[in-house]
């Protein structure tokens, strides 16, 4: 009994940090409507800065002062970020905001390694809380007790801040209607900046307080951000009390889940999250958001099928690509195959994002599932390559069918967070279920059969499948289903009013995209001859997002060009620099701020720069009165 009680207390102590970070995210979202992906990065920065300060200054004052100072310093960094970057993208589609802050996260990851080195750092223990309390023979670290008290204390302080101060009133007003607050003469710029500073302070404090408990390392940002996303999805984005309750819930589920499913305790959290989402789609304490901004939605150019000339050009380009084995060596062909595979992957995400308006931040899950599917079939079941290639993607289909069902119940940032959390769950299963997946060692020796073994043959296979996948997706875009999907994206209200079951349409699209991603993964497994959990990881999901963005979200097939340019660039970049994340993050931020339409989008804009004809009303020249 005592053991369970101690386990319960450990859970409560973990909840403190999680609550601090999640409440910061919620506060920032409430006012600025930005889901700050970089929140995990600020959490990590808080821990690193606190580590340096507490090592530098000794004694109790040095330690506690260092913790608070670290949070304040990181908050200042946050202010800088808000003023330089976020102010430029407050009116951008939410997908772009998520991506920009993700780019920031990538940059911070490399910067942290650059400054503090790649190895784990062990912090000092907290003065005054070094010992442990004995509880019926079980030890409870006294620092845990401190954290348990801290959580409710911070909750109380935040409550006072928001209920009893003028600033708090402004923030609450802005959370409800920021346009009205602006109309009342409140300086929005500084309100946003100060809110962002408070949110970042909380995240950094959460990170700084972790140093007596855990090692400081450069992957802690992604780990916490996934947990935080789960917390805010369960608690309701924008609700501080929701963040508290959900943080406790998630931490306790983790603490006890380890006892029930030692290897895959995250499953338990997932089940609870799924249950909450079914009963209350906006979280336990969340409110339904007003109609979300459309993602994407910068232009209004209707899509059209290719003309016969353009079709000829596409075939010619394909023929040209097929001629690569005549001039390229084995290395060029392997790179070519990889690019072709990523064209398939990017096209599948592009379909979901552009046509469906569903920006998945965890699309790699279905790519990886397809790859593992092939590995299982080829290695464990010993099926021939053709059969494995055909059946392997079905694992991606199954995963997309299960997760997609839950994900499409939500939209916008909730959808993005949920897909990310799902992908993380799949990743941790692949990582932890060593008996089946080989864990970190992966599954080796998945080699193509002799007919496809030579680089040239495999290259031809890859581009053939890529061409087929792109063609099929394009046909679907212009099929009735594609139109129903776009209709649901453009106006769910109108879609429903003309008999379209939007959720079912979106679910189907999710399954299609997941299956095509699985096809890419299946080829990838044969290309590499092996499969590792990385193929399900966040960075691969983000690679795909960047490819789509680079090509242009609003185009029909921009992802093809985006994938080719990005993959070639990143292969080259990795060979040139150790700081590829820093450069990549910089590129992402640059795209979002400077070229939101992507390469193909820009080309189209240039091509369509014809003298604009002002639209006139059909029967009457129209005066638009403002609707009440």
């Amino acid at each position: 009994m005592a053991f369970y009680f101690v386990q319960f207390l450990t859970g409560l102590a973990s909840a403190a940090s999680l609550f601090l970070v999640a409440s910061g995210l919620s506060i920032i979202f409430g006012v600025t409507r930005i889901v700050n992906f970089a929140h995990g990065a600020f959490y990590m920065l808080g821990a690193y800065v606190a580590f340096t300060l507490t090592e530098r200054f000794s004694g109790a004052i040095g330690f506690w002062g260092g913790i608070v100072a670290a949070a304040a310093i990181v908050a200042l960094v946050g202010v800088l970020v808000e003023m330089v970057l976020l102010r430029r993208i407050y009116h951008a589609p939410e997908l772009f905001q998520l991506l920009a802050t993700f780019g920031l996260t990538l940059m911070v990851e490399d910067l942290v390694v650059l400054i503090w080195g790649p190895s784990d750092l062990l912090g000092r223990r907290a003065p005054g809380f070094k010992g442990a309390v004995d509880f019926f023979g079980q030890n409870i670290p006294s620092y845990d007790l401190f954290l348990i008290g801290l959580g409710p204390l911070v909750l109380g302080l935040l409550w006072l801040l928001f209920q009893r101060t003028r600033w708090g009133v402004l923030v609450r007003a802005a959370t409800q209607d920021r346009d009205m607050v602006a109309a009342l003469g409140v300086n929005q710029k500084w309100l946003f900046t100060s809110v962002f500073a408070v949110g970042v302070f909380l995240a950094a404090l959460g990170g700084a307080l972790q140093i007596p408990r855990d090692a400081v390392h450069h992957a802690m940002d992604l780990r916490i951000i996934v947990d935080v996303f789960v917390v805010v999805v369960i608690g309701g984005l924008g609700s501080i009390i929701g963040a508290f309750v959900a943080a406790v819930l998630v931490s306790e589920l983790n603490a006890f889940g380890i006892l029930i499913f030692p290897k895959i305790s995250i499953i338990l959290v997932f089940l609870v999250m799924a249950a909450v989402l079914i009963v209350r789609p906006w979280g336990l304490f969340g409110r339904q958001e007003a109609a979300a901004r459309r993602t994407p939605g910068l232009t209004i150019n209707p899509w059209r099928p290719l003309t016969s000339n353009e079709r000829l050009a596409a075939v010619a380009a394909l023929a040209l690509a097929a001629a690569l084995p005549l001039i390229g060596g084995n290395y060029a062909l392997t790179v070519g195959s990889e690019i072709a595979i990523f064209v398939i992957f990017a096209a599948s995400l592009h379909f979901l994002m552009s046509v469906g308006g569903l920006a998945s931040f965890g699309h790699a899950a279905y790519f990886g599932l397809g790859a593992y599917g092939v590995a299982f079939l080829a290695k464990l079941a010993g099926l021939p390559m053709i059969l494995s290639l055909l059946l392997g993607p079905l694992l991606g289909l199954a995963g997309a069918a299960v997760f997609g069902f839950f994900a499409v119940q939500l939209s916008g940032v909730y959808f993005a967070m949920l897909t990310l959390a799902f992908a993380q769950i799949v990743w941790s299963i692949a990582f932890q279920w060593v008996a089946v997946t080989g864990g970190d060692n992966g599954i080796l020796g998945v080699w193509p059969e002799s007919w496809a073994a030579s680089p040239a043959h495999f290259y031809w296979l890859s581009i053939a499948v890529a061409a087929l996948a792109v063609a099929v997706l394009r046909i679907i875009v212009f099929s009735p289903f594609g139109f129903a999907l776009r209709a649901t994206r453009d106006s769910p209200l109108r879609g429903e009013a003309i008999g379209i079951d939007g959720k079912r349409i979106q679910w189907t699209a999710f399954v299609i995209a997941g299956t095509v991603a699985g096809v890419a993964g299946a080829l990838f497994a044969y290309l590499k001859g092996s499969i590792f959990p990385d193929s399900l990881g966040i960075s691969l999901s983000v690679d795909a997002l960047v490819m789509v963005l680079l090509g242009g979200v609003e185009t029909v097939s921009g992802a093809i060009l985006g994938a080719i340019v990005y993959k070639a660039l990143s292969i080259w970049l990795v060979s040139q620099t150790d700081l590829s994340k820093l450069v990549l993050g910089g590129i992402i931020v640059l795209i979002v701020v400077a070229f939101p339409k992507g390469i193909v989008g820009m080309l189209e804009t240039i091509r369509q720069r014809r003298p604009p004809t002002p639209p006139k009303s059909a029967l009457l020249t129209s005066g638009i009165e403002t609707a009440e």
Binding site: N301, P305, I476, F483, A497, G499, G623
Partner: protein, 263 residues
């Protein structure tokens, strides 16, 4: 064609939010080919009533019978399948498609081809979409991007979309809100003409009394969630209770009416 039972009949419809009774015990019926206006001051419960009829909101109590089927608590898309077209107070169309494609999507749905992954939508039912657009006077705009239409034209397009499933009933929530005065008259005239020609029943809410009194066959007046008057425009206009609620407005209408309503 004799109609044995009304197109739409509503009995004891109620809805409350917390302690607020938005709609209480509203009952009425609508016959084929009839144009029925639902009016009342702001907060009278018009929109709540409307949302319950088209499935956006689940009624607290009461029954709705549409075309002989109990549709209480059904989803909007199920109600649409029964033959109900609807337009919104703030237009809801698909801005990234052309005007014609907007109508084609509705036709695709009506033809139950939503899960067809193979055929080409731009070629699907082009002629029928064109015919519907001609009907509402938008024939020349078929290939325009919907996103660049003027507001009045969007309203027209919405009407074409609403007619795509060959509806027996049109539900129009403030069809002329946000339009210039001349456009309002024009649009309602068009709607009334189509409804009469095809025998479609129309239920609409409206704030503009010119529009209401000119086109409605019958008027329902809601106040604080209850039906306080029902009858022909003439009867409703004379009703002292309605006059009391619309105090200024009714008098203004009379004054304007004597000068001759703008056409």
């Amino acid at each position: 064609m004799s109609v044995a039972q009304p197109l739409l009949s509503v009995e004891g419809l109620s809805k409350s939010y917390g302690g607020v009774h938005a709609v209480r015990g509203v009952s009425f019926a609508l016959n084929a080919g009839e144009i029925l206006a639902l009016i009342g001051p702001n907060g009278a419960g018009k929109s709540t009533c409307f949302d319950m009829l088209n499935g956006q909101t689940t009624p607290g109590s009461g029954r709705i019978n549409l075309l002989g089927e109990d549709t209480t608590g059904k989803k909007p898309r199920e109600i649409w399948r029964l033959g109900v077209g609807r337009t919104f107070q703030i237009t809801a169309t698909f801005p990234t498609m052309t005007v014609r494609e907007n109508v084609q999507v509705a036709l695709v749905s009506y033809g139950r081809r939503l899960f067809n992954l193979w055929t080409s939508t731009p070629r699907y039912a082009r002629a029928e979409a064109g015919r519907l657009l001609e009907l509402v006077g938008m024939g020349g705009y078929a290939e325009r991007p919907c996103g660049e239409l003027a507001y009045g034209d969007l309203k027209r397009l919405e009407l074409a979309i609403a007619l795509a499933n060959q509806p027996k009933l049109l539900l129009m929530d403030e069809p002329t809100a946000g339009m210039a005065p001349r456009e309002r008259i024009e649009l309602m005239r068009l709607t009334a003409q189509i409804a009469r020609e095809q025998g479609i029943g129309v239920l609409f809410t409206e704030h503009d009394m010119d529009v209401v009194f000119e086109h409605a066959d019958r008027i329902l007046v809601l106040n604080r969630g209850s039906l306080i008057a029902e009858g022909s425009p003439e009867e409703v206009r004379r009703n002292p209770q309605v006059r009391a609620i619309y105090l200024g407005e009714g008098l203004v209408y009379d004054a304007r009416h004597r000068e001759g309503a703008p056409t």
